[in-house]
């Protein structure tokens, strides 16, 4: 027994999870505690999760957790935010310090596997490694960057991805490697390299910090896939469903044009059965997910709006981050967001 515990602990230490195969166990625990423990990125992640000047967490990932709390409890306030770091996030989840991570974790096979035992219920943001160049270079595609000097953080997947990309396209580049992101940005800003590469969202945040943000452009290529999803422990199907359908409800609402402003009116007047089921006017979607109330999706949209509204509030072009929707548009608008129908 002791040996087993030791082995389990050692496994957790290396970001491997310990999970129990009892369905509903985590959800029961959350319900009996009365709050959802949500792991967010510490110290902060611009736009995605930042404590405001009064110490209250705000941002895209924060509202995802609050939406899940509405589904479970019918109350967006019943969340405890627990800051986790990139080193501590998976051990914290495995050890039960948090119930859910909402901190821009990439869905990968290793993390999803039966070794690590995590679950990624639904993608909330399609990120991907991108490259930024000064506008004056007149480059419109990453394929035209042969011979460029590239500012990149050493020892990261970012570095691997960029060298793979250049090799794959028979191009050469000179790396400028600096491990501190702020230093790296300064090197790019002062012209020590032509290209700055990082994940799209991070790159956009870095762009706001340049001397002249408008003089720099992020090229359209995505040279890696970084699908970001909330993470929970494997083995609780009910919780998986709840998280997935919380996200799907947000996406479906945007696809069907349901917003915070018109949700009540649509719920009252719509004859579309998919809309009526999503908003809890008919059917038993809430009950079948063991949500707190049949109209949980309506409450979420009334409180936070649909996916697009949350996106625009924290990340969109009217925020200092100025992230284009890009791949994060709904499928009918040319993006990748696609949620199953509510029926």
């Amino acid at each position: 027994m002791k040996l087993k515990m030791l082995a389990a602990a050692a496994a957790a230490f290396m970001a491997f999870g310990v999970g129990e195969a009892l369905a509903g166990r985590d959800l029961d625990q959350i319900r009996s505690r009365g709050t959802l423990r949500c792991g967010v990125q510490g110290p902060s992640n611009p736009g995605f999760g930042v404590p405001d000047s009064q110490g209250r967490w705000q941002g895209f990932n924060v509202e995802i957790c609050r939406a899940v709390a509405i589904t479970i409890f019918g109350d967006p306030a019943r969340v405890e935010f627990v800051p986790v770091t990139t080193q501590s996030r998976f051990p914290a989840l495995a050890a039960g310090e948090v119930d859910i991570l909402s901190n821009n974790s990439t869905w990968t096979l290793t993390r999803d596997s039966n070794v690590n035992r995590f679950n990624f219920p639904a993608i909330t943001f399609y990120d991907g490694q991108s490259v930024m160049v000064p506008r004056r270079l007149n480059v419109t595609s990453a394929r035209a960057l042969n011979g460029a000097t590239v500012c990149v953080q050493p020892g990261t997947t970012t570095e691997l991805n960029i060298s793979d990309y250049f090799r794959q396209h028979n191009m050469r580049f000179t790396p400028v490697v600096i491990s501190d992101l702020d230093e790296l940005r300064r090197a790019y800003d002062s012209g020590r390299c032509d290209v700055f590469t990082n994940d799209f969202a991070a790159l956009a945040a870095q762009r706001t910090l340049l001397t002249r943000p408008a003089d720099h452009v992020i090229l359209p290529e995505r040279i890696s896939k970084e699908p970001l999803s909330p993470v929970i422990r494997q083995g609780d199907e009910e919780l998986t469903n709840i998280v997935a359908w919380t996200v799907f409800a947000l996406i479906d609402a945007e696809e069907m044009g349901i917003t915070a402003a018109n949700v009540e009116q649509i719920a009252g007047s719509s004859t579309n059965p998919v809309v009526r089921r999503l908003l809890g006017v008919e059917g038993n979607m809430g009950e079948s997910l063991s949500a707190a109330r049949p109209d949980f999706a309506r409450q979420i949209i009334r409180t936070f709006g649909n996916y697009g509204e949350i996106y625009e509030r924290w990340l969109g072009t009217n925020t200092p981050l100025g992230l284009e929707r890009g791949q994060n548009r709904t499928w009918n608008n040319g993006g990748l967001l696609y949620a199953p129908p509510a029926r």
Binding site: M5, A8, A9, A12, F13, V18, G42, P43, S44, N45, P46, G47, V50, P51, D52, S53, Q54, G55, R56, E80, F81, V82, P83, V84, T85, Q87, S88, P91, A92, A95, G96, E97, D182, A205, T208, L209, W314, T319, P320, L321
Partner: protein
């Protein structure tokens, strides 16, 4: 310190004249003086411009960017966050009161006339009082989990309690390591070497993430207590070696003289050896303390929002992007003031304890 009432007396003028003369005697000194002046002329105006003349003290991020200088408005905006961290905003008076009590207790403890058993009693009472005040859940105070404690408050708590609990433990470990009883000696050596041989970051990680895995189902120890435990142990292990250095520096004659007086082991240590050993190691002790104080920032790995972390977190506020320099200057000044105070206090202690050598 000779506090002269008139700053520009004849003695001062004479000293100034000697200084200026020394600066310009010989070509080598002249070169050094001129380069120093050039360096100052090159450095000081831009810094003064940035920090004061073009600085924005009040206003928004846009005002700051327009002015181009330092954005102290950012620090103003985030000041209370840096002090109280994630503690609920409406309850700020509680950590504020706690800090006041903590500062009062620390100041009282620096006064030698208060060094008696009542101070110990006062500390125990204050510690319980502060915990109740911060954690709440009784006396009509709303309950606030320790994970929400943050900012300078948590830095103060970890540093003060780490040292207050770690120091006595360090003395015990140091004595144990020099004990003639092998079991005690091995035990103390084992603890010191194991704790010292591991980075603080992994100790904290163990305490925060691993310890709960080993505990029986349902038994939980508060995370802050686990962190304090790890930090105290780390402090103790490092200090123990400093104290041991002091013990070894004592001439054999001191031990023998104490034994010749018929003193028991504890009396010998308490009355003769430790007072001298601890006094001669004051510089090394303060050195270790200052290092450990700055190490408190490492608690961020397990998600505790200490003072430095709150500032790094504030840097992510998208309304205030790009004022990292201001935040780091503010942090540097704060840490410097606190560390400098420790250093000054230690110098005073040294003077007080070794009157014979002056």
């Amino acid at each position: 310190m000779s506090a002269s009432t008139a700053p520009i007396g004849p003695a001062f003028l004479e000293r100034a004249a000697t200084f200026v003369r020394a600066c310009f005697t010989g070509w080598f000194n002249i070169i050094i003086t001129l380069s120093c002046i050039a360096l100052l002329v090159w450095l000081v105006p831009p810094v003064v411009n940035w920090a004061f003349i073009n600085a924005t003290w009040n206003g928004t991020a846009q005002d700051c960017r327009a002015a181009g200088g330092a954005c102290w408005a950012f620090i103003r905006e985030k000041f209370w966050f840096s002090i109280f961290g994630l503690y609920p905003y409406e309850e700020r008076w509680r950590p504020a009161t706690m800090i006041a009590v903590l500062v009062a207790m620390v100041l009282a403890s620096t006064q030698r006339r208060f060094w008696n058993q009542w101070l110990l009693v006062a500390w125990v009472v204050a510690a319980i009082g502060m915990w109740v005040l911060m954690a709440g859940g009784v006396l009509g105070l709303s309950s606030v989990q320790t994970r929400l404690w943050g900012g300078l408050t948590i830095t103060g708590i970890i540093a003060v309690y780490g040292v207050a609990l770690g120091y006595p433990l360090a003395v015990v470990l140091a004595l144990g390591r020099r004990s003639k009883l092998p079991i005690i000696r091995w035990f103390c050596t084992g603890i010191i070497e194991c704790v010292r041989g591991v980075p603080l970051i992994s100790l904290l990680f163990m305490a925060a993430i691993m310890l709960p895995l080993f505990m029986p189902e349902g038994v939980t120890l508060d995370r802050l207590l686990r962190v304090l435990f790890a930090y105290t142990l780390f402090t103790a292990a490092y200090m123990a070696e400093v104290v041991r250095g002091g013990l070894q520096a004592m001439p054999r004659g001191q031990y023998e003289a104490a034994e010749a007086l018929g003193l028991s082991y504890w009396k010998k240590m308490r009355l003769v050896i430790l007072p001298q050993a601890l006094t001669i190691t004051i510089p090394a002790q303060v050195n270790t303390f200052i290092g450990l104080f700055k190490d408190t920032t490492l608690v961020v790995v397990i998600g505790v929002f200490d003072f430095f972390t709150t500032l790094r977190s504030a840097l992510g506020d998208s309304a205030w992007l790009g004022f990292a320099t201001e935040a780091y200057v503010y942090a540097a000044v704060t840490y410097f003031v606190l560390c400098f105070a420790m250093s000054k206090y230690s110098q005073r202690l040294e003077r007080d304890f070794t009157p014979g050598q002056r």
